[in-house]
Subunit: 371 residues, 2 copies
């Protein structure tokens, strides 16, 4: 067994007094580790402090006395890990006097940017290509009050325009190139260490734009330098095989995967992620869509955890390389988003157990149940 106490294992708490936290959001919790000052206005939805949930059925599949936990960042306020970076990016934008923020995104980033910008009293602009995405994907951002602009062009043009806008107009760019995003996201690593009492042996994480693996590594290194943990984890990054540039070393011009949140062919943080992998003696591996969906169903139907398909890549990857797991290891898999973000995949890929047309009697129902 691993030496660290299982802080998130409920049995470890039997008989102890209930403990409560008045959690005041990431920036207050980790202020000494973040680029803020007393004059930074804190825009927060009390993000972070997400649960680190033991997944004993996954551990059982691996065997060897390993302990596996998932960091369920889908329970952040807007439903994804993006909130960690956004509380800082928006607070710093407000400190700088911005009246508006802008990003090119159709998914979790646009929702998070809109929620925090509006809470901070700023306008939130989202730039996308015409016809690029169904309105349903943008519904959350629109409800948060995002102003969505669709250009007659492609996604690369949208990215170029938002960069130019941020240079020439009084709007702050909150795409992944905003350095405060990664600074905020590194707090995920802090929380893992604070929960476990040390870093895990392995940190398994989905990799798309490669910002989150970069941020987690920054967080572990910073905590290690401060003496908050005694070791550093191996960073195990997993990409979808249809969008796996870090595995193949080649840009994917037409990335494709069911895991839309990591459907990225040319990651912004490519070099930083490679550095994290090398420094931590970690690995990049790819998982197929079938493996991702299998892990997605396994997490829901055996562990009770409903995550985005992209999130399940971390667990799918762990299961794929399970023969390499050292006996007694403590492993954390990051689940980046809430499954409720993608209802279509849930509808299309559950092991649908639906029996219609049953006679309305107790006996008929009992028979249908196999009792």
């Amino acid at each position: 067994m691993a030496s660290t106490l299982s802080a998130a294992d409920s049995s470890a708490f039997e008989g102890t007094a209930p403990r409560r936290l008045n959690w005041s959001g990431l920036i207050e919790a980790y202020r000494p580790y973040l680029p803020v000052t007393d004059s930074t206005p804190v825009v927060t939805l009390l993000e972070g402090n997400t649960p680190l949930i033991p997944v004993p059925m996954i551990a059982k599949i691996i065997g060897k006395g390993v302990r596996v936990l998932v960091k369920f960042d889908g329970l952040n306020p807007t439903g994804s890990f993006k909130d960690r970076g956004m509380t800082l990016a928006i607070s710093k934008a407000k400190e700088a006097g911005a009246k508006a923020v802008i990003c090119a995104s159709t998914g979790n980033t646009s929702a998070s940017a809109a929620a925090y910008a509006r809470r901070g009293g700023m306008r939130a602009f989202v730039l996308i290509p015409d016809g690029y995405v169904a309105l349903g994907k943008l519904a959350q951002a629109l409800l948060y009050g995002a102003e969505v602009l669709a250009i007659k062009g492609n996604f690369d043009q949208a990215l170029n325009i938002v960069r130019e806008m941020a240079e020439s107009y009084p709007v702050t760019l909150v795409n992944s190139v905003n350095p405060y995003r990664l600074e905020g996201q590194k707090t995920g690593a802090f929380e893992v260490v604070d929960n476990l009492g040390d870093a895990p042996d392995w940190l398994c994480i989905p990799v798309g734009n490669a910002g989150n693996i970069t941020a987690y590594w920054m967080g572990f290194c910073q905590y290690h330098q401060q003496g908050k943990c005694n070791r550093l984890p191996r960073m195990m990054g997993f990409q979808a095989s249809g969008a796996s540039p870090l595995v193949t070393g080649q840009v994917f011009t037409h990335p494709e995967t069911v895991a839309t949140a990591i459907r990225i062919g040319n990651p912004a943080s490519w070099e930083k992620a490679l550095a994290a992998q090398q420094a931590s003696q970690g690995q990049f591996n790819s998982v197929t869509d079938a493996e991702i969906l299998e892990a997605y169903r396994l997490l829901a139907s055996q562990e009770g955890i409903f995550c985005e398909p992209a999130s399940a890549a971390s667990v799918a990857g762990l299961l794929k390389v399970k023969d390499q797991v050292p006996a007694g290891a403590t492993i954390v898999c990051v689940l980046t988003g809430n499954g409720l973000k993608d209802p279509d995949t849930a509808i299309n890929h559950s092991n649908n157990q639906f029996k219609p047309g049953i006679e309305p009697t107790t006996a008929a129902v009992a028979q249908a149940m196999g009792l």
Copy 2:
């Protein structure tokens, strides 16, 4: 201003050391207050400990120096407050040796029951009327591994059959008549008091089946008896006007409202909720669908909080009776579910700010932004 310190207001934490909690779920946190023993197997997804978020724009609308916070229970593991009751109901079912649980529900209850039952190694059956609901509404429960049975009958027949099943077969009923559900849900009140340092002046809460208002009142009373709070709140229950039996005193045979989670014409906890309202000198009031949707948009676009339409009834109600709010009061509104549960309402009822067909130049985008 109210006398209690704003524990969830981030400004109250400036300069303090970061504090962390190894939260181990409701049952461990509140063990002395719950009907469990050392031999109860704890089935948990680390539910509870949800954020109490200040909503300053809502407070500003009311004025009079009031402080308003929302208890965002949509950040529970399956996306609703139902997880609070389900961790206890499923743990007790497991303790009693149940191999399966059953409920008649199409919404948050079935998802929560399925997640916890499967995590506890039990089968989860959901009984519904044939053709009663689109499969999409059940997608979350199906992914968690629920076995859904549709009978050729109506919802009342389904309710009768699940009751009979629980009497005659080795399955545990986890519908709202299961007494452990309310015992678990009362922990919402404990958390509010633990966050604020005392009970609020008002507790505003959506009322459908009337179980949650009953449970919150149980929680406040129990904490008050134990000396954990010095006062008790006024319980302010809000129903949708198309489903407002507690306001009118009449059963609604055909309840109708956009707030589907409180679309109930004959609440199971009617008498208990009335007792809570009377003992607390509270009130029941109704809000229209238009008022609910206005509060729903306001919470998202001004505060950055995306809740279910039913949840917004608590805030809509508070705004409706704002003239009665005492100066300097501390008010908590319960938001029972995550907005991601109901994407259709988000699509149909945002103040859609979508501008297509913009030329792909920085100048054209700047013009569209009004810069």
